[in-house]
Amino acid sequence: MMIIRPVRQQDLPAIRQLASKTGVGVTSLPPDEAHLQARIQRVLATWADEAAPAEQGYLFVLEDSQTRQVVGISGLEAAVGLSDPWYNYRLGTLVHASRDLAIYNQMPTLFLSNDHTGYSELCTLFLDPDYRHSKNGQLLSKCRFLFMAAFRERFAAKVIAEMRGYSDEQGKSPFWEGLGRHFFAIDFAEADRLTGLGQKAFIAELMPKHPLYVDFLPAETRAILGQVHPQTAPARAILESEGLKYEGYVDIFDAGPTLEAYVADIRAVRDSRVHPVQLGEPDQSGPLYLLANDRFTGFRALLGQVDFADERLILDPATAAALEIGPGDRVRAVPLFAPQSAPHASQQAAAQARQAATH
């Protein structure tokens, strides 16, 4: 059984192993032991209620209960930009028009912004390639929504997720080549590494502060504004199927899209319900449910089959044990996918939404 739980100090070697499997662009998981150690300490302090608001963050790991192996990781930040500034480019429009000359031009323009200051952030999603099956990716991503639903007061009204932007097979980012490189004497991989080590605000200080007319960027740079890396497309589809949207904000280094939503509007948050548990043998043919035990330090989440008897949720004993609950305890549940559409249909819808967003 695959179980989500809060990270522990002992997970460091496994996480370091995972980090070494990520490529350029997963900036919040650099294979740097000191950095990972500091991150773990910070989230443990958060769970111990010892972290200042600007420092609060959470890291969940996906554990294979048979092998006790950590095979995935996902993160949440309570509020970004409260100690270092949080930068994005907002892709906006300036109209240059003269009635006298009968001229009208729309100029797409990038504005450096700190608009997401104080927002919560979904971050650091990585799943071992060997485990990319059985909806593990869905669990790893969406478990965070159940955590947010259970502890709303610990998060902002809005949440964002920065998606890795497009880069080519050599790890070159057309956005960096067309823009960032002009303002720096370092390459994208190095900028990316520094960003992962928490130097992003530092680097952003060096970025152009004035709005940038998109027309002055090379065609290949313009083409990838708001485009995700092909490997990140599935992660984007998952978040979009839950109601997060691209609203014109892109990353300052690789122009990957920032998805955003009001926490209360996210499907898994909005539709999740807390039920008392009854042990039994649920029908195995129903929809798959995302389940969590609503505990803070002892948080557990997993995927399972359920039945309902009035308000009560019928769980098999093994699932209940994995959630570390007994009869009479309460469990938060939501269908893994929006009920009106089958999983494959919702993925299609997400793909369509993605296409619409990029045209």
Binding site: L94, H96, A97, S98, D100, L101, I103, N105, M107, T109, L179, H182, F183, F184, A185, I186, L194, Q199, F202, I203, E205, L206, P208, H210, P211, L212, Y213, D215, F216, L217
Partner: protein, 343 residues
């Protein structure tokens, strides 16, 4: 003999001819009869008015060959480059983005749309027939105007500006316009220049980028054109630069040609020109003397010409009769002269 004098309405047909000849590069000399007519009227009104401070006035001069009556050049001064509506230029700005920790030190060059030259007096509408572009004739127009300013300082601003046409390719296209202006205007360079010369400038405020442009993001050919003067205007540029104008801070908004500026009191012609009185008028024996620029003190009857002149600071001048007549001078009248050889 050729004199520089204020334009009068009778000059209109010849001025139209020169506007045709000058082409679209001299946008302050557009091929538009109504516009040129108004330009002459405004100049006449300015010369007739009592002026205590620079404002809306403009002064329009022509170079006349006295023997043939043919007009061979034009030039003008606007008392304020941006009276009533702002004068636009791109200011060169350099920002240092540095981080010791990251080992980064970058000079970022940007172009910022600026209005700060609006209250400068502007030299403009420079045109000279091609055969006169040798020798001292260009100076008669350029330094002649500067001496007019020196003779009537209350009518002009302490700071002067001049806009010179920028680099274009063989087809007459401005690489800077193609890469920058066209993105905002969507029209041809010459069309924009025509509007610039004839329309009010509101359209510039409406269409030009309000945010600074990072030079490193511009196409290479646009970067290469920054501050580069059109070959046809090289002479004018060199004259102004030699007199003390500086080209470092601003470029023109359409073609990125140089926008030169100077504090008038620092100019060579301001500092070295001399005031004198006419002592006597007698037939010339001065043909070996160095060429000087000589101007009278008048407004509507302002005249400037080039003549060999034996002159020394503090001394009264002896003028040949034809020179005195051309300048409308009598003994005792004040004049200002500038030796051209020494420059």
């Amino acid at each position: 003999m050729k004199v520089l004098r204020p334009a009068v309405m009778a000059d209109l047909p010849q001025i139209e001819r020169m506007a045709q000849q000058s082409g679209p590069m001299v946008c302050t000399l557009p091929v538009s009869r109504a516009h040129l007519q108004a330009k002459i009227s405004r100049s006449q009104a300015a010369l007739a008015a009592e002026v205590l401070l620079p404002g809306e006035e403009s002064y329009f001069f022509v170079l006349e060959d006295l023997a043939s009556g043919r007009l061979q050049g034009t030039c003008a001064i606007l008392a304020q480059a941006g009276f009533g509506e702002p004068f636009h230029a791109y200011r060169n700005e350099v920002v240092i983005h540095a981080s010791r920790a990251l080992g980064v030190h970058q000079r970022l060059h940007s172009l910022c749309l600026s209005h700060e030259l609006s209250d400068h007096s502007q030299l403009c509408s420079f045109y000279l027939e091609p055969e006169l572009r040798q020798g001292h004739w260009p100076r008669l127009l350029t330094q002649g105007r500067l001496l007019f300013i020196a003779q009537h300082p209350e009518r002009f601003a302490p700071d002067l500006v001049a806009v010179l046409p920028g680099r274009v390719d063989e087809a007459g296209r401005s690489p800077f316009w193609e890469q920058v202006g066209r993105r905002f205007f969507g029209i041809d360079y010459h069309q924009a220049e025509f509007y610039h010369g004839t329309q009010d400038r509101r359209f510039i405020a409406e269409l030009m980028p309000h945010h600074p442009l990072y030079v490193s993001l511009l196409a290479e050919e646009a970067q290469a054109a920054l501050g580069q003067v059109h070959p046809d205007a090289r002479l004018q540029f060199d004259l102004l630069e030699a007199d003390g104008f500086e080209a470092d801070d601003f470029v023109e908004i359409f073609d990125a040609g140089p926008v030169v500026q100077a504090r008038r009191t620092t100019l060579h012609s301001w500092q070295t020109s001399q005031l004198a009185r006419v002592a006597d008028i007698s037939p010339s024996r001065q043909s070996n003397a160095p060429t000087c620029l000589l101007v009278n003190q008048a407004l509507a009857e302002f005249r400037a010409l080039l003549t060999p002149l034996s002159a020394a600071p503090g001394q009264a001048l002896s003028l040949a009769p034809e020179v005195a007549e051309a300048l409308r001078l009598r003994p005792g009248d004040p004049v200002r002269w500038l030796a051209l050889e020494s420059q």
